[in-house]
């Protein structure tokens, strides 16, 4: 049945081809106008149009499935893929995020200084059309914690919208490459940066602020698409007025209820530098008209200095896009002691859950659990481990509370060993993908544990202190990373592809050709069979892959797959020249777990485009 579906879709595509690419209306259709996915499992309903020829927003679609029904590249022919074009940015830093493809143009945002480059895919070799230089403030480089990355742009209303590292959201005319407007949404002087990809819903843009050592008050900012003016700001901490909680708010769990939890769950005044940075991904449900995103850890205070649950750090939010008023919130990790930012993607879909159709939100957490929530209410339907972790045993679905292992909490002077996951998490922000044809969520996962080995003398701003010396290493099983295929309905792992040496630090793409594409930190770009996990094709690119693959149709009707190759980012920092691998505690402890990376990859700056 499966093969017949594919044949049918291919036949239909072939028949439509001349019509589809002749007209503007057809281009709009290729922009993902359908919700009915060929070959989808019974009952699975995707809630936003998927990327079926263009790639106009970071995750391809609002629901963050990173799924495309394109199937010209499929399990039968993927081994014939070869390089169609390569482009370089000239900036050897982490190339996170993904390009856009709109109107036969590839749009790429580079790492700092965040240039926007447009490539013409109608011409051989996809030459550069123009390059836009925003010229952001260099001081942002000194403030950014984890390499000078950028996670991409959105296209809307003839404009490419993205953030520069120095807290500006900029709109660039997609045809001419000229700036339309630019708005400052944060302040480098206060230690704020913006690395995330904004999304656009109707006439609203949403973006968030990344934290820093100066103690940043995390928040989500909404801007007007036409003018760039700020419409509202939803802070992650503070009184209900700041966090935009009002009469329409109902947290599902009693632990998250009550007024002004964003101040009351802190010792006085600490919420003012409370963290809750917003630097991950934003999803949108066009049917419920709600946006979803998660917040980061509880900021710069040592956990012992901020008793209380520290709301709303490590929280998943549902908000009305027009007003920003919260519908519900669920704090995933109360009183975080491990740096478990929960800014991961929230993948939206409807499917049968225990016999009943439910509106789901899938959140593969930093914490190592796949959370399945009802996205109407914030109820946790399931929380199962996707990596061998031990900071908590389980989540109580009645109370929403994690059952935390007390001996994995770390206090100054009393240090725990073998805490899994390490603070890099069982998964970082790098996004997963969902295939409605397999019902699986493909998760780029890490298997890293950490020992707090006691204290080491350290020094900051002319002040000595005892820093926790953290050593990270592969967890049980001896592998450092894996691509996990998670069967959503069964709430368990179906298969995985293990990486011995390095975490999987790239995003995933799932396609109608029943392929999943992802990359490794030492530069392999792979296609695996989405059902079985068998690796069908791989190519060694020039540098480690920390970006997210996309797929699109060219004007020639061919299907293309594209991926950045350029290692960096937090875990990839060890590969950058200015990090010594002699110090296992460097780069926030990450280097110890990655000391072999310098022998396995060098920095790079490429975009690879593959086709037949």
């Amino acid at each position: 049945m499966h093969r017949a579906n594919r044949y049918f879709v291919t036949l239909v595509s072939a028949a439509l081809l001349p019509a589809v690419f002749g007209t503007k209306a057809a281009r709009a259709q290729a922009n993902g106008s359908t919700n009915n996915i060929p070959g989808a499992l019974p009952g699975i309903h995707l809630v936003s149009p998927v990327a079926a020829g263009q790639w106009t927003m970071p995750a391809g679609d609002y629901a963050n499935t990173r799924y495309s029904p394109l199937d010209k590249i499929n399990t039968g022919n993927v081994q014939n893929l070869h390089i169609a074009a390569t482009m370089s940015t000239g900036i050897p830093h982490g190339h996170e995020g993904q390009p856009l493809v709109v109107n036969n143009t590839i749009y790429m945002v580079t790492p700092f200084p965040n240039n926007l480059i447009a490539y013409d895919i109608t011409k051989p070799g996809m030459p550069q059309k123009w390059i836009f230089h925003p010229e952001p403030d260099n001081r942002a480089v000194g403030v950014a914690c984890c390499d000078v990355v950028n996670r991409g742009a959105s296209y809307a209303d003839g404009k490419i919208i993205y953030n520069t590292l120095d807290d500006h959201t900029v709109a660039v005319d997609a045809n001419t490459g000229h700036r339309v407007w630019e708005t400052q949404v944060g302040d480098v002087k206060l230690g704020e940066t913006t690395t995330m990809a904004p999304i656009v819903v109707r006439n609203m843009i949403f973006t968030g602020i990344s934290g820093g050592e100066l103690g940043v008050r995390g928040r989500l900012v909404a801007l007007d698409l036409k003018s760039g003016k700020i419409s509202w700001i939803a802070y992650s901490t503070g009184p209900d007025q700041d966090t935009r909680i009002g009469s329409g708010f109902k947290a599902f769990y009693p632990k998250d209820q009550g007024s002004d939890q964003g101040t009351k769950s802190w010792t006085p005044d600490q919420w003012k530098v409370g963290g809750g940075a917003v630097w991950g991904w934003i999803s949108y449900d066009p049917e419920l008209n709600l946006i979803y995103y998660g917040t980061g850890n509880a900021g710069v205070w040592n956990a012992d200095m901020r008793p209380g649950d520290n709301r709303w750090s490590c929280t998943i939010w549902a908000r009305d896009p027009e007003t920003g008023m919260a519908k519900w919130a669920y704090q995933v990790v109360p009183h975080d002691s491990w740096d478990y930012d929960e800014i991961m993607e929230n993948v939206l879909l409807d499917m049968p859950w225990k016999g009943q159709m439910r509106k789901l939100l899938l959140h593969p957490g930093r914490t190592g659990f796949v959370f399945v929530l009802d996205r109407e209410t914030g109820e946790v339907l399931s929380a199962e481990k996707f990596e061998p972790i031990n900071w908590a045993n389980s989540y109580n679905l009645q109370t929403g509370q994690p059952d935390i292992n007390k001996d994995k909490r770390t206090h100054f002077g009393r240090y725990a060993t073998h805490i899994c996951p390490s603070s890099t998490g069982a998964k970082d922000f790098i996004p997963s993908a969902f295939s409605p044809r397999t019902g699986m969520l493909y998760i780029p996962a890490h298997n890293t544990c950490m020992d707090y080995e006691g204290v080491a003398v350290n020094y900051i701003a002319g002040t000595p202190y005892l820093g926790a010396s953290v050593r990270m290493y592969p967890g049980e099983g001896g592998y450092q990373g894996e691509l996990v295929a998670w069967d959503v309905a069964k709430a368990k792992k179906a298969w995985s592809i293990k990486e011995r040496e390095l975490p999987v630090y790239s995003g995933v793409l799932a396609t109608g050709g029943d392929l999943v594409f992802y990359g490794t930190m030492d530069g392999w770009f792979r296609a695996a069979d989405a059902h079985s996990g068998k690796v069908l094709w791989q190519v060694k690119t020039a540098s480690g892959i920390v970006g997210d693959p996309i797929t699109f149709l060219g004007p020639d009707g061919k299907q293309y797959v594209a991926i950045y190759s350029g290692v960096g980012g937090w875990m990839g920092a060890a590969a950058l020249p200015d990090v010594s691998t002699d110090d296992p505690y460097a780069a926030l402890g990450v280097v110890g777990t990655m000391k072999q990376i310098k022998g396995m990859t060098q920095p790079g700056d490429l975009l690879y485009v593959f086709s037949f």
């Binding site: 200095m305 080491a456 020094y459």
Partner: protein, 275 residues
């Protein structure tokens, strides 16, 4: 004159002439806004120490300026952009340190007219007073005596001042905490000695600086630290040169520290190389 260290770069200012007048350099990694230690105008005592030592060695000081926040060592010394950090705690992980040239400790700072005279972490008044501390900018960074307070349940009356300041444009951000004592925003501050001593001296309001007595509930908790110069692990030659200089000039260095108001504790007698 020339250091045999592989890492020292020799600048050659040859403007068309055949003979280069190449001055050897001492490449120092320093914070451009961190008095009393250093600033861009080289008014800090570490700047003066670098100039003193370089002068003896016939070298010119060349600075790599970088704020001493989380990525400082990684981006300066480790990256090979400069070769010495003039002040680091002895035995700091990841770098090699000379023998220490001073020892200081965490102190309590208060207004003289309050007559608090608090020096012990066991003083019961600590539970009631508003105590200012430096927040070190990351959940894993905490001054050891702050831990002593939190372990005594003294948490909600702690007031944090981010050591990097509230704004990157601020000069002397670490002095915010001392100014808070002057203004009465806090009753007492718990600060690292050199920062307290230097800024307290120039306070318009008389301030008292008292070393914190050991933590009775955890005698092993370090409240004082030896400070040395730090170089990369393989840079033995430079370390030895610096050791010789720090010993030779110990009297002048003492005078320099006293002139900056650095509160000092006595260093242990043993001063062998490789301490």
């Amino acid at each position: 004159m020339y250091s045999a260290s592989k890492r020292l770069t020799v600048f050659c200012l040859c403007l068309g002439s055949l003979a280069c007048n190449a001055a050897p350099v001492l490449r120092v990694c320093a914070d451009p806004n961190n008095l009393p230690y250093s600033d861009l105008q080289e008014k800090g005592f570490e700047n003066r120490l670098a100039t003193m030592i370089a002068g003896d060695l016939g070298m010119q000081v060349v600075y790599t300026w970088f704020p001493q926040r989380g990525s400082f060592f990684r981006k300066t010394l480790d990256a090979g952009k400069c070769d010495v950090v003039m002040g680091v705690p002895s035995g700091m992980r990841g770098i090699d340190t000379t023998a220490p040239y001073y020892r200081s400790g965490y102190v309590f700072v208060s207004r003289r007219d309050r007559n608090l005279n608090i020096a012990s972490l066991d003083d019961p008044r600590l539970h009631q007073l508003r105590i200012g501390i430096h927040n070190l900018g990351d959940t894993d960074r905490e001054a050891p005596p702050v831990h002593a307070l939190t372990s005594r349940g003294i948490v909600s009356n702690l007031v944090g001042y981010n050591i990097f300041g509230s704004n990157l444009d601020e000069t002397d951000p670490s002095s915010d905490l001392i100014k808070a004592v002057e203004k009465g925003e806090v009753d007492l501050a718990l600060v690292w000695g050199p920062i307290a001593g230097y800024f307290a001296r120039s306070s318009p309001v008389p301030l008292v600086v008292l070393p914190i007595e050991g933590d009775s509930s955890d005698p092993t908790l370090p409240l004082s630290f030896d400070i040395a110069a730090g170089v990369r692990k393989e840079d033995d030659m430079l370390k030895q040169q610096l050791d010789v200089e720090l010993q030779r000039r110990r009297t002048e260095i003492q005078q320099l520290l006293v002139s900056y108001g650095i509160p000092q504790l006595s260093l242990p007698q043993a001063r062998t190389a490789g301490y």
